[in-house]
């Protein structure tokens, strides 16, 4: 690398990540928790919420996408450009697992970037009757995924698992 290139090289990396998942999974609540450190009651997202995290040597642009069926067609436009995906699942809502699995597979199969990092959050862990992590991994065939991935149990109400999950994600980007 030439001297000038080294001189003007930006030390801060940039990463675009999207938060996907069914409606009412808790995507925006997680985003607000990252921002404020506390539970914030939110209304359904119409479109996209954006938040930027300025970390040492890394700037992360987080796009929180609306989960309603009508908005899902827009996802691929944003997902195509993203470096990582956070997929949020309401682990207490067994009735919508099949739908969540279908949407998850659609999202993953649409990805072209083989270096994509996927963070799966089993949200609403504070609620009773939730699916077990091991069972979820099996149900969603995560072991066959050709990407780097991790599953974390979280609760955007209590904050459990939120920091650790995103820390893993950020560390993966920083490398």
């Amino acid at each position: 690398m030439s001297f000038l290139q080294r001189l003007f090289r930006t030390r801060t990396k940039h990463a675009d990540i999207t938060i996907c998942g069914l409606d009412d999974a808790g995507k925006t609540t997680i985003l607000r928790f990252l921002e404020t450190g506390e539970f914030v009651d939110t209304t359904p997202t119409m479109g996209v919420n954006r938040e930027t995290l300025h970390l040492p040597n890394l700037q992360v642009n987080v796009f929180d996408l609306a989960g309603q069926e009508d908005f899902r067609n827009m996802w691929h436009n944003i997902n195509e450009k993203s470096d990582g995906i956070v997929f949020v699942i309401d682990r207490s809502n067994v009735m919508r697992f099949d739908e969540a699995k279908e949407v998850f597979e659609q999202t993953i199969h649409a990805q072209l970037d083989q270096d994509l990092i996927i963070l799966i959050l089993l949200n609403k862990s504070d609620e009773p009757n939730v699916i077990e992590k091991s069972l979820f991994i099996e149900e969603f065939n995560l072991l066959d995924l050709p990407f780097k991935w991790a599953v974390f149990e979280t609760s955007a109400k209590t904050g459990d698992g939120i920091f650790n999950s995103f820390k893993w994600f950020v560390d993966e980007f920083i490398g």
Binding site: F33, L34, E35, T36, G37, E38, E51, L53, H54, L55, P56, F163, F166, K167, V170
Partner: protein
Amino acid sequence: MMMVDLSLIEPASFFIIVSSVINMAFSLALVITLLVNFFRKKTVGTFMLLSSYFLFSLTSAFSIAYRISLIYNEGVMTDTIYQMGSLTPMIILPAFAFLYFFGCRHILKDNEIVKTYLFAIIMVIYGLITAVIAYDNIYTNSLFSEPTYITNDVFTISYTWPILVAQIVISIFVTSRIGIRALRLARKSDQPIRKRGLQTIGIGVFLYLLAGLLSAFDSSISNLPALMITVSAFRALAYATAYVTMYLGWVMPAWYRKMIRKKSWFEMQYQQLQKR
């Protein structure tokens, strides 16, 4: 080509022209940033704001061209210079109309009936002013060079005053409403970026209004050079500050947002962990 002996120009004129050119540069910079913003967002709102400030900027350009042409012609008022001077009031009212409609989209909460009536009133005044200026340009050429007109009665009236008053009333009405509403919304807002943005817009709009009022004032004290220079200096300062403030408020560049925004919970936690 006729050359002007610069030594004949009074220092006061130099001062006013230089300060006007600096203001023009500030307003042009604002228009360019709004243009970039428009191409990025491509919304009706950004177009209205751009149109409004483009017209404001055009009035400054005409005003400078008017003054320079007058000096170049050694004070002799030609038809072209005269018409250049008379264009300003015709441009400024549509600029305020655009600003009002932009305000209605994002800050003011006027309903359709109020909007329609206000727009109609502004346009009627605009029509009257245009008619007076057109009549004057065609027949009398006395609107600006000879501001008074002696009627058959004993009263001496001026065309310029009603035009000036109409401009002042409309500018105060539009800008003060946007300014007050922006400051009120800022007080209610919990989000720091939105709060500071609205505060900046409110302050910028009031500074612009102040600068406009000082402009109107300094044109009425041309027989008192010392006072005129002082007022012009304050006016130039108010315009420059208003343009910078409005740029920060309307455009909200990334560095300004970053400055306002506090660190998020995750950023603080992550950085604390790094320090350990």
